[in-house]
Subunit: 447 residues, 2 copies
């Protein structure tokens, strides 16, 4: 034990980039060549326990340095701050960061600055869970409803969700929570897989990976669409033939369409019985999603990975624009704002199926869905967490998938911490991988 209260003594940032564009893994109609990257932050304290808080914003390559600069702009709010107070009430930091009157101009609550806030808050939650000796999902699921309510910023939400509503939902969620936690530990949380469906894969690879997914126990796969309609018709046929009639086939257009084009395209794919169409248009277009949903039913509409904040999620629910809410662990203002979004979805009775993949997004978001099951929605019906088999080897406590289910993480924290050797290798531009890459390029140009 330290004699004086522990303080945050360092806020280290790293620009970490993985060269995923070499493989066309992750290719879709909007993102042909992503290099999955993390603007990574480590909070250190002078406590004797040695715990650090790790967090990151996920990007897909270029601009990751801008994201790092945004995290660095938040450093003054962290240095010297009491670690006990931070971990006892992450909302106190959330209020300071979201409320900074000058930084707010750069959003407000959207884009680079908001993702930076999310990275820092998630690092605090990682630290808090480590200090408590609990995986984050358990810290949340075992927390008092009143305390969870106090972690939510209700500003701009009160026409759809009040603190009293939230308290009611969370109090109801506590009923039977221990039994659900037991079932979750025994069975895990359902996953669906996007690995077969990247646009860059040929039909043979698509069919092979789709069959394998079903053999592995997945009850839903996802296909990227939106580049070419004739190709999509063929690929949907191939995928449906591979998975049979009973496995769900989700489609993901990655924002490629205007409203009318979305409707036409989805109707053309309807014979293959898609389960949902994801990101049919701009993530900002609440009314557009509502119009598409009315026109393509019974195909469901899903969105959320690029939805900037709780205010837009609120409207998607108010307008009846989505059948499925797709939270992202690293886009909005951290765990605090995702609590708000989970509560909004629960209030409207809409299932949450998180976006994951990239680097580390599966690791993070599993905690939020598991909390949602154990202590909020109380069900996994029509719910599944996206799973993509990329880059998990870089994490100290990677996700474990067992018969198409996420196993409960048991390591204390938010599963956000990358391996030191991975950070050293993929640090941009000076890590071992990138330095060698530059040498290879220089040699190639000289030859």
């Amino acid at each position: 034990m330290t004699a004086t209260p522990a303080r945050v003594t360092a806020v280290d940032t790293l620009d970490v980039r993985f060269p995923t564009s070499r493989e066309l893994d992750g290719s879709d109609a909007m993102n042909p060549d992503p290099d999955y990257s993390a603007a990574y932050v480590v909070l250190r304290t002078d406590a004797d326990d040695g715990h650090e808080g790790h967090g990151f914003a996920f990007t897909i390559g270029r601009g990751n340095e801008v994201q790092v600069a945004a995290i660095e702009a938040l450093r003054p709010y962290l240095l010297g701050r009491s670690a006990d107070a931070l971990c006892a009430d992450p909302a106190s930091l959330a209020r300071d960061l979201v409320g900074d009157s000058q930084l707010r101009w750069l959003g407000p609550e959207k884009g680079v600055m908001h993702m930076a806030i999310g990275a820092v808050l998630n690092a605090v939650w990682d630290l808090a869970a480590k200090r408590r000796g609990l995986p984050l999902w358990r810290l949340l699921a075992e927390a008092e409803p009143e305390w969870l309510v106090a972690q939510v910023d209700f500003r701009y939400l009160s026409d759809a969700l009040t603190p009293a509503d939230a308290l009611g939902l969370l109090t109801r969620g506590r009923e039977g929570a221990a039994a659900r936690a037991g079932r979750l530990r025994a069975r895990g949380y359902p996953a669906y897989t996007t690995s077969p469906g990247w646009l860059g894969y040929d039909d043979e690879k698509l069919a092979r990976l789709a069959r394998r997914a079903v053999a592995d126990g997945f009850r839903q796969i996802k296909l990227k669409v939106g580049a070419d309609l004739a190709d999509d018709v063929r690929r949907c046929r191939v995928a449906r033939a591979a998975i049979g009639p009973d496995v769900r086939l989700a489609l993901d257009a990655n924002q490629r369409w205007d409203v009318e084009r979305a409707v036409t395209w989805v109707r053309a794919l309807a014979p293959y019985e898609p389960y949902w169409i994801e990101e049919p248009t701009s993530p900002d277009d609440v009314l557009g999603h509502a119009a598409i949903r009315r026109a393509v039913a019974p195909v469901r509409v899903a969105t959320g990975e690029h939805v900037a904040n709780r205010v837009v999620f609120k409207q998607l629910l108010q307008a009846g624009a989505v059948d499925v809410v797709q939270i992202d662990a690293a886009r909005v203002g951290g765990v605090n704002e995702n609590l708000a979004i989970l509560l909004l979805a629960a209030k409207h009775g809409v299932p949450v199926c998180p976006h994951a993949g990239g680097v580390g997004l599966c690791e993070l978001v599993q905690h939020l869905s598991m909390f949602d099951y154990v202590a909020l929605s109380g069900t996994t019906e029509d719910r599944a967490i996206e799973y993509v088999d990329h880059l998990h080897e870089h994490f100290l406590a990677p996700v474990v998938i067992d018969r198409a289910h996420y196993r409960t993480p048991e390591t204390p924290g938010f599963s956000a911490e990358m391996r030191p050797d991975s950070l050293a290798t993929y640090r941009f531009p000076d890590g071992k991988y990138w330095a060698a890459e530059r040498e290879r390029e220089a040699a190639g140009q000289g030859g």
Copy 2:
């Protein structure tokens, strides 16, 4: 003339900050102490004409360095590019910048990255207008409708505005344009003033400045509200008494309220006959603005200075959520996206009253309103550009206000260029002002 086509040879960036928080100028309920700042960019070419393109993103202090980093991330798209091609078709650059598949993740089309795109595109428009020897409003007002249509990105707009709609509006707008340009030169474009109404001012100063505004010919003033209802009731009474019954009194809440609170608050101020309530709630809350507008009529609802992009403006118009569209010259994707927003407003018959103030926003946005009058909406009825008497002395071609009207700028370009000595003095943190400030602080701490 150069023998070879001119290319962009340099993209210089500067972090420029003015210490406006010392004076409480610019104080409102959300922004108590802004330091008006610019993430400033200069495009240089190897043409013999010596023309440079100047542009900037406006911020209010902290985080301006993040905004500069975002502009620097765009440099590869500019260096070596043909200056002729850029100026002949700024949309070609807009497509590249907005469409960069990796940078897009950081928005998409919102926040720091989108404001950086706006700064760079505006610099290109400044360069284009200088090379043509025209102030930007004339370049736009004299351009062929087909060319203007080609400058607009219709993605996500087609359910509300098609290229054919736009062409129709612009073709109609050309009728009588020359006569309107003549009237504009003779009379100027109406302004309204926010100078009396900052929250930090006491009642005596408010009344004095309000009376002076009316004496100066202003037909509308604006008051900041939203911090304390009793104060606002008193301040509205003071302001209405000072300006009399016929001058419009606009109110600006700077996003302080949830929906219900906005309605209650505005109704309490209704006896003072406010003309509009500006930014009553989150700029992302289309449905919230619509609900507020229904409840507070006949008080009008205005918003836009923090609206991230054309997709949100589209919905504000589709949902009948606003009576007044407030474009901002430096928030969205430059002139190109503001053309889209002006066209959306014209299609819906909603007047545009730009946000201005800060540093340089008046200089920029006057060009867009003047184009709108001469060659699109064809009217100044119920339209006025915000005017705030701050920091104009730092510009080479500052706005000129004459009897409460903006005079037409006649200097070629977009009026964006700051004086070299101002840039040198207020460059952060190494300019003369800030270096001296640090010395003063060090001396103060030592003494």
